[in-house]
Amino acid sequence: MSKILIQATDMTIGYRDKVLYDGVSFDIKEGDCIMLCGANGSGKTTLLNALSKIRSCETVMIPTRIPKVTGFTAKEFIRIACFRQSDMGGRLSKADEKAIDTALDTLGISHLADRDISTLSDGEFQKTAIASAIVRRASVILLDEPTAFLDAENRISVLRTLRTLCDTHGTAILFSTHDLYDGKAVCTKVFALGADRRFRCATQDFDECVGTIFRKF
């Protein structure tokens, strides 16, 4: 039985003056690869933001559309992202430096280590951001629409990488996406924010669960 990392029981999601979903219950276990789907404005990012606040040291959230600033290599970007681990000058310990190399290797992007991030494709940069989450020793990685700006090839490549990471490292990943077809193929679980304002979680019969985001009841 794999370890439960986050367990939500009867949780309410929303803002101070607006409840989006209540009675939300789910658990996120080691090695889970979860697709979070819902229409635009259904509250996917709100849910991810809420989860990112829980045990924030072990939960790393990667926001959508990080600017690719000129003048930093992929390795330097990861170093900067490790804000909590680095010293005042932004330097990392030897162990963390080694962790960067291992993470780049795991994601198959070692050859990009010294490339300027502005020259990376969106898919390659997305993988670099995921690598930074590994170096930050995240047990749960939350990704807000990691495939939003990718072409078909990069989309599948990034999603496959996510799944591999879950299988080999036991990392739990929750990603929101509109690419339901590709997402379904790689995930082990589906969280759906239904059109009827109800939260659903499925470990099988993904189609049924995904369908609730469109259907009006």
């Binding site: 924030s56 926001p63 600017p67 930093f72 992202a81 490790c82």
Partner: protein
């Protein structure tokens, strides 16, 4: 961008700065030690420190506002200083308690006041672009009040105000230079110790806060550092623009990186070089030219060049 060794770049900047400073000191031919110690040396030292301080301010502002054309001038700090100077020089003659204040003192108070307003609202505004627009508007208000004051002033006080607002590296005394040096040191210490925060904020507030940084804190720090440095420089040298915009870009082009640990020290040197260079040009004319005008005439073409070459900015 091509990466170059920061150490070699620092050396090149130091040598270039030393040569410019030597040329500036020697300009006008050999002279006695009195002229050297009381006229030329203070002028060159002031130019070096003013350039360094403005470049550091510009570098930080460009990062925390994520705008490649931001500098203290645009954020309204210089306009605040000008308003302070205008109130004292243009109204000072009539009211008793103001006449005791010097132009420099008033300018410093004005810079600090507008800086305080920006610092205060920076806690309210969480977006970098809103803060930038606020700074520009603040500058507009200050300039509007100045023009009203100018309209109602007599010729004599207008002349005093104009000579300050034209900008100059001359006329600084050694105690004033010491004050500027202290401000530069404090501002640099704040900037350099916060270099990793300046790096991460380039990737957006959302990414920075997700990684455990506090964007509003980083901005507050950078603005504080800018205010200390710009306040001192503007008080003694007048409102000088464009150095703060150009110097960080030159540093970035030289080192090929955007990392602040490397670029802050190099921007400091490139800023100093620009100001000493501008001073040298202004001294070459038969009557010394105002520093602000020389900087604008030499600096704006460089900014236009940056804009044309990198339209993505």
């Amino acid at each position: 961008m091509i990466r170059r060794k920061p150490f070699i770049m620092t050396l090149i900047c130091l040598v270039a700065l030393a040569m410019l400073a030597a040329a500036d000191l020697a300009h006008g031919g050999a002279t006695d030690t009195h002229v050297m110690i009381h006229l030329r040396l203070p002028r060159v030292v002031t130019a070096i420190m003013a350039g360094a301080a403005l470049a550091l301010s510009g570098s930080q502002m460009q990062s925390v506002l994520r705008n490649p054309l931001a500098d203290p001038h645009i954020m309204g700090v210089s306009s605040g200083a000008a308003l302070g100077a205008a109130i004292v020089t243009l109204l000072g003659g009539t009211s008793g308690f103001l006449s005791g204040l010097t132009t420099a003192g008033a300018a410093f108070i004005g810079a600090s006041a507008s800086a305080c307003v920006i610092l205060a609202v920076s806690r309210k505004f969480h977006s970098a672009s809103t803060l930038l627009i606020f700074g520009v508007l603040l500058g507009f208000i200050a300039n509007a009040v100045i023009s009203i004051l100018q309209f109602t002033s007599d010729a004599e006080s207008l002349k005093i105000f104009y000579s300050w607002s034209a900008g100059s590296f001359s006329n600084t005394t050694w105690p004033q230079i010491a004050m500027t040096a202290a401000a530069l040191l404090a501002g640099y210490a704040i900037a350099f110790s916060g270099r990793k925060g300046l790096d991460i904020i380039l990737f957006g507030d959302e990414f920075a806060s997700m990684a455990g940084a506090r964007p509003s804190g980083i901005r507050l720090r950078a603005l504080l550092s800018c205010c200390i440095m710009t306040g001192a420089v503007t008080a003694f040298c007048g409102p000088l623009g464009f150095v703060g915009i150009i110097a960080p870009h030159i540093a970035k082009a030289m080192t090929g990186t955007s990392a602040h640990g490397t670029n802050l020290p190099i921007s400091l040197l490139t800023g100093a070089m620009i100001c000493v260079g501008a001073d040298l040009i202004s001294q070459m004319s038969p009557t010394p030219l105002p520093a602000a005008g020389t900087l604008a005439i030499t600096g704006i073409p460089v900014i236009i060049y940056i804009l044309i070459k990198k339209p993505s900015l």
